[in-house]
């Protein structure tokens, strides 16, 4: 799996979305599945998947799929 596929899979797992659900344009709380509780589970899933430990500010700022891509880049995970 590419990094992009892994990140998409992490989003679908954490937000309890179907395996083919489009996630690239998701934004926090636009989708009813992505509430504050799911956000914590999303952070934990991403951290496990990519073996990173996100700082508080990054958890706060991860307000969409695109932001997650950018933030992971700061931790050396290149999601094209």
């Amino acid at each position: 799996m590419t990094e992009l596929q892994r990140l998409r899979a992490a989003f679908r797992t954490a937000l309890n979305l179907p395996a083919d659900a489009p996630v690239d344009d998701l934004r926090y709380q636009d989708n009813e599945k992505w509430d504050s509780l799911a956000h914590m589970s999303l952070v934990a899933t991403i951290e496990d998947e990519f073996s990173v430990m996100l700082d508080t500010d990054d958890v706060i700022n991860m307000s969409g799929f695109a932001e997650a891509v950018r933030i992971l880049g700061e931790y050396g995970v290149d999601v094209p």
Partner: protein
């Protein structure tokens, strides 16, 4: 980076123009707010204490918002002691700003890294995903600052000693975060730590939620600190905040015993008879001031809590340091909303 940096004169200089702008901003966008100010005859303010305040309970009876319906991103509610509910309207920008500033405030004492987190509460408060209690929302808000979360209470609300032991075995040798409502921390964590000899020495305790139940048991804030200190918990930060000024919390400093205002906020203590500002040392009604509320007119709020300023620019952090002394007795609270009615 700290958000506790501004001396009182510097704070006044920054806050006054920002708040004067906010008054104009909300008058333009929130008709009921504009009518209240017009009826009160407000024209200008020469100091933060001159700014027109709204009684906090107004958010329970009026829909006060400064954004069009289609920009409402989130409506926060709080149940008060009266059973009425405040409704606080946020747009995307206000929601983001409040989260960011709450983050900056707590990172002053927690640092930028998320810490292993022991939650002195039960998972069952999050059961109903659609409507969290205030307690559930508070825990979730704090969860952002932690990782590897462990609940100290089981589903029935009894202490999970083995769970706490497991948490301490894994994380107890480095800084960790403990969060809970003041009364639960006292009732469950303190006694458990004593009875089982738990070492909480690397913990940083953040707690909130009022002292009423503890005062009923004759436990003062000083005694709370002192006794938890015996369980090794010496880094303790109480905080005071309300949903009507979401994102702004007044945080107990490292010196203990006083709450401090972040750089974007301030407090004014008022005489409940004359509404005049009271000097340090004299208890009165607490007014909370913050530049965060842009989507609703919650920037200057008169609370129903009694408080006292202990000193100005003389503590661990700059600005006013103060304590919350408890609720205003009910009869007097009625007096304060009468004032609003006659003003409106």
């Amino acid at each position: 980076m700290s958000v506790f940096t501004l001396s009182q004169p510097a704070r006044e200089k920054v806050l006054l123009p920002a708040l004067v702008d906010l008054v104009a901003h909300h008058r333009e966008r929130c008709a009921p707010y504009d009518r209240i100010l017009a009826a009160g005859g407000f024209t200008s303010a020469a100091s933060v204490a001159d700014l027109p305040w709204l009684p906090v309970r107004l958010f329970k009876t009026l829909e006060l918002k400064s954004i069009p319906d289609d920009e409402v991103f989130k409506v926060l509610t709080s149940s008060g002691t009266t059973g009425d509910v405040s409704r606080i309207h946020l747009d995307r920008a206000a929601a983001a700003a409040q989260t960011r500033q709450l983050g900056a405030t707590l990172q002053t004492v927690l640092g930028p890294k998320r810490l292993p987190m022991l939650i002195v509460d039960t998972r069952s408060i999050l059961k109903d995903r659609r409507s969290f209690s205030a307690r559930g929302a508070g825990v979730l808000g704090m969860a952002t600052f932690g990782r590897d979360h462990v609940w100290a209470l089981d589903e029935e609300g009894t202490v999970d000693v083995e769970g706490i032991r497991g948490f301490l075995a894994e994380h107890g040798d480095r800084p960790f975060l403990v969060f809970g409502f003041t009364y639960l921390v006292w009732l469950h964590l303190y006694e458990t730590a004593q009875a089982h000899g738990l070492d909480l020495g690397n913990g940083i305790l953040i707690h909130s939620g009022g002292w009423k139940k503890l005062i009923d048991q004759a436990v003062s804030p000083e005694e709370f600190r002192e006794r938890l200190g015996r369980a090794g918990l010496t880094r303790i930060h109480n905080f005071y905040g309300m949903v009507e000024q979401i994102g702004t919390i007044f945080l107990e400093g490292p010196d203990g015993g006083s709450l401090y205002c972040p750089d974007f906020a301030d407090v004014v203590v008022r005489d409940p008879e004359t509404w005049a500002e009271l000097p340090p040392g004299e208890p009165g009604l607490l007014e909370v001031v913050s530049t965060l509320p842009t989507s609703y007119p919650g920037h200057v709020l008169l609370t129903e809590d009694l408080g006292v300023v202990h000193g100005i620019d003389d503590g661990a952090w700059p600005g006013k340091r103060f304590s919350v002394l408890g609720r205003l007795p009910r009869a007097e609270a009625r007096g304060c909303s009468d004032t609003y009615r006659s003003a409106a």
